[in-house]
């Protein structure tokens, strides 16, 4: 109830705000001027290839490490650890004390975030029972399967009802069923008013869950905006089958159009579908099938991340003064 009241107040504000974050590890620049704005109550995806700087960015946002340059605010606090009681964090490399009982592990993580131990234990029992692990609550972590241990760690991340949930590659290592469960859990947390940030290099999850995304490549933000905006970076794809093999209609196709097994595939020209359709009909194409597909987030990601990577490589070639 308290969380919902607080989260109602959060609406319209920013849960996370990062400005020009820079992080150098020796001579390597892992994060290079990243700026992010995560609206409160949203599901926000941090997408990028391996080694792009996603985890380092999350660690900076959470205050695990301080950046070499730039600033960040978490739930309105300039020092992230001051907001720690309202934050839940699932690191990419999962970690639990192997000898600890499941309920104690969850309660410990709750106590770290400010819950009284007795209350944390009570909530741990409830959470474990709700997620089908009630019979395992007194068993040590080392006796659990990998999937179960991951669930226990996730429950430990949620036990204190955080306003901000930060999940680093949460789907890695999970089977399809558990991935589905995790997606539902993320949605339910967002519906309860929490802000969820997660990093992933599997685009499908972000496409299904996120309202906004940032695509990170080579330590820089290559794109930041809504999923629709990202898709809008690419033109729709046209798939065309004609009865006529050749004729004047061919001049209506862009130069980059390619033919795979009798199907023409090309980007929708600037003028849109109507002029294309008219030119095809006038040119005697004899349209068999014509489909205009909206590009997926995956296509947008490859285009944006690939473009940024190429750009970064070009920058590296610039001779230094």
């Amino acid at each position: 109830m308290l969380r919902q009241a607080q989260q109602s107040a959060d609406i319209g504000s920013l849960a996370v705000e990062a400005t020009d974050l820079v992080m150098d590890f020796g001579d390597t620049r892992a994060v290079d001027g990243i700026s992010l704005q995560v609206p409160a109550g949203s599901i926000y995806g941090l997408l990028g290839p391996n080694g792009a700087g996603k985890t380092t960015t999350l660690r900076i946002l959470l205050g695990i490490i301080d950046p070499t340059g730039g600033s960040r605010r978490l739930l309105g606090r300039g020092r992230p650890l001051e907001a720690a009681r309202d934050v839940g964090y699932l690191p990419e490399e999962r970690g639990l004390y192997p000898a600890m009982q499941s309920r104690e592990a969850i309660a410990f993580m709750g106590a770290l975030r400010g819950l009284p131990l007795a209350e944390a234990r009570r909530r741990a029992d409830t959470l474990l029972a709700r997620h089908g692990l009630g019979d395992w609550s007194r068993r040590p972590i080392r006796a659990l399967s990998k999937g179960m241990a991951q669930t226990v760690q996730l429950l430990g991340t949620l036990v204190h009802h955080p306003r901000l949930l930060v999940l680093d590659e949460p789907f890695s290592g999970l089977d399809a069923i558990n991935q589905g469960k995790l997606e539902r859990l993320i949605r339910s947390e967002a519906e309860a008013g929490a802000t969820v940030i997660f990093s992933t290099h599997v685009i499908a999850h972000a496409e299904r869950l996120c309202e906004r995304i940032a695509i990170i490549a080579e330590g820089k933000v290559a794109f930041e905006g809504s999923v629709d905006d990202a898709r809008g970076r690419l033109r729709p794809i046209v798939r065309l089958r004609t009865r006529s093999g050749d004729g004047p209609w061919r001049s209506a196709l862009p130069a980059a159009a390619r033919c795979d097994n009798g199907e023409w595939v090309f980007e929708l020209p600037e003028g849109g579908p109507e002029p294309l359709l008219k030119a095809l009909l006038d040119g005697g194409a004899g349209i068999d099938t014509l489909a205009i597909e909206r590009p997926g987030l995956h296509d947008a990601f490859v285009a944006i991340a690939g473009q940024a990577t190429a750009q970064a490589m070009d920058e590296d070639k610039v001779p230094q003064a």
Binding site: D24, I65, G95, Y97, A99, M100
Partner: protein, 401 residues
């Protein structure tokens, strides 16, 4: 500060429970069998090393008699070639010999083991010496030699009358020195045994990646403090068990039970309280350093490699502290009391030797301040060099430029 302490206690509670409720804790409780042996050997060596001279005897005599006795002392010293000899100090006879004798025997400024009166004609030795002890034997020989030198070889032998009065000031001082050495040795053995465990305290968190979860939730300083408090509490629990077992053994074995142990200057209750406090201080000071050093190790092998140099460093600190015994207000004594790592050892020994309490309050405050400094430094180094946090130090940036 409250939040830091709260978080530290959460960490401490977990670590304490994880350690005490493990099977290996039973082995830990049996561990003192080894340090007790070391302590006995150490104690024996330091006691032997401390026996360069027997204590001083006050000789209440005229100049002539004392000169004869001093000459005999010199000859005996050269004859015995460096063997421990009783020392002589002349005291001018007074009108009230009983009062003079009492005053000499309780003087703490210039402590004496016994008082020799009656000149060479009627020698009487009174004080903390036994008739069959080495001090009485040496004096009897010297007196006999001085009389024969003065009256010729046919001089009649006159026995030395010895009155054993129990503790003299010198006996008390000697016993307090023994207590100081024993206290220091015990403190050293316990610290070396227990604080070194802190080297490996962060390995589990680092190898299981739990450190990320902890570092995202609480300050690194709270993690360090929590681990220190957990291990200190666990150590104190172990010590309570060992002390109870040791006290029971002494009560059973020693003739007069615990009363047979030499009493410290501040008395047993205060001294034992000091021992607990100074152990805690010594543990926290060294522990904060060990935690910081050990935090950089990622494997048990690296910890093993680190443990030898830190143990050697501890031995150096202990050696420095033991130099202060017998002269706690001297330059070395004061220096060792100020140097934070040797301070707990020196101050415990001081509690055995001198009765003032205020220096201990000052020392504890001083040591606590250094615990805070060491912890903050260790946490900052851990964040910087293990978690790779923040900008590199200015000197490194300059060097790179």
């Amino acid at each position: 500060m409250n939040e830091l302490l709260r978080a530290a206690l959460v960490i401490a509670r977990r670590d304490f429970a994880a350690t005490v409720f493990s099977k290996s804790f039973l082995l830990f409780l049996l561990a003192p069998l080894f340090p007790v042996m070391i302590g006995l050997i150490f104690g024996g060596l330091t006691m032997t090393a401390g026996r360069g001279d027997l204590p001083t005897v006050a000789v209440v005599a005229g100049e002539q008699d004392f000169a004869a006795l001093a000459a005999a002392h010199e000859r005996a010293q050269s004859a015995f070639r460096g063997a421990p000899m009783v020392q002589l100090r002349r005291v001018e006879p007074a009108p009230d010999p009983d009062s003079l004798r009492r005053r000499l025997l309780v003087s703490e400024d210039r402590p004496v083991i016994a008082v020799l009166e009656g000149g060479l004609a009627h020698p009487r030795l009174t004080g903390g010496v036994r008739p069959d002890g080495s001090a009485a034997g040496q004096l009897a020989l010297m007196i006999d030699h001085a009389r024969r030198t003065a009256a010729g070889p046919d001089a009649q032998a006159i026995p030395l009358v010895v009155s054993h009065t129990g503790r003299s000031s010198a006996v008390v001082a000697s016993q307090r020195t023994l207590t100081a050495r024993a206290g220091q040795a015990a403190l050293f053995v316990l610290t070396i045994l227990l604080a070194t465990m802190l080297l490996s305290q962060l390995i589990e968190e680092k190898s299981n990646k739990i450190i990320e979860v902890l570092a995202a939730a609480v300050p690194i300083g709270a993690i360090f403090l929590g681990k220190l408090l957990a291990m200190l509490t666990m150590s104190l629990l172990g010590i309570a068990v060992w002390v109870a077992a040791g006290a029971a053994a002494v009560a059973l074995i020693a003739e007069q039970g615990l009363a047979s142990l030499p009493p410290p200057a501040v008395g047993w209750p205060v001294f034992l309280s000091m021992a607990v406090v100074y152990f805690a201080m010594s543990y926290l000071l060294l522990g904060a350093i060990f935690l910081g050093v050990g935090g950089h190790a990622s494997t048990a092998r690296e910890v093993q490699t680190l443990s030898m140099p830190v143990t050697m460093a501890q031995i150096l600190v202990f050696a420095f502290a033991s130099l202060a015994i017998g002269d706690p207000d001297g330059a070395i004594g004061l220096g060792a009391a100020i140097f934070p790592l040797s301070s707990p050892y020196v101050m415990l020994a001081r509690g055995a030797e001198l009765p003032q309490l205020w220096p201990h309050l000052a020392a504890i405050a001083w040591q606590l301040a250094w615990v805070a400094i060491f912890l903050a430094t260790a946490a900052r180094l851990f964040r910087r060099s293990v978690l790779k946090s923040g900008a590199p130090p200015r000197w490194r940036r300059r060097a790179r430029a």
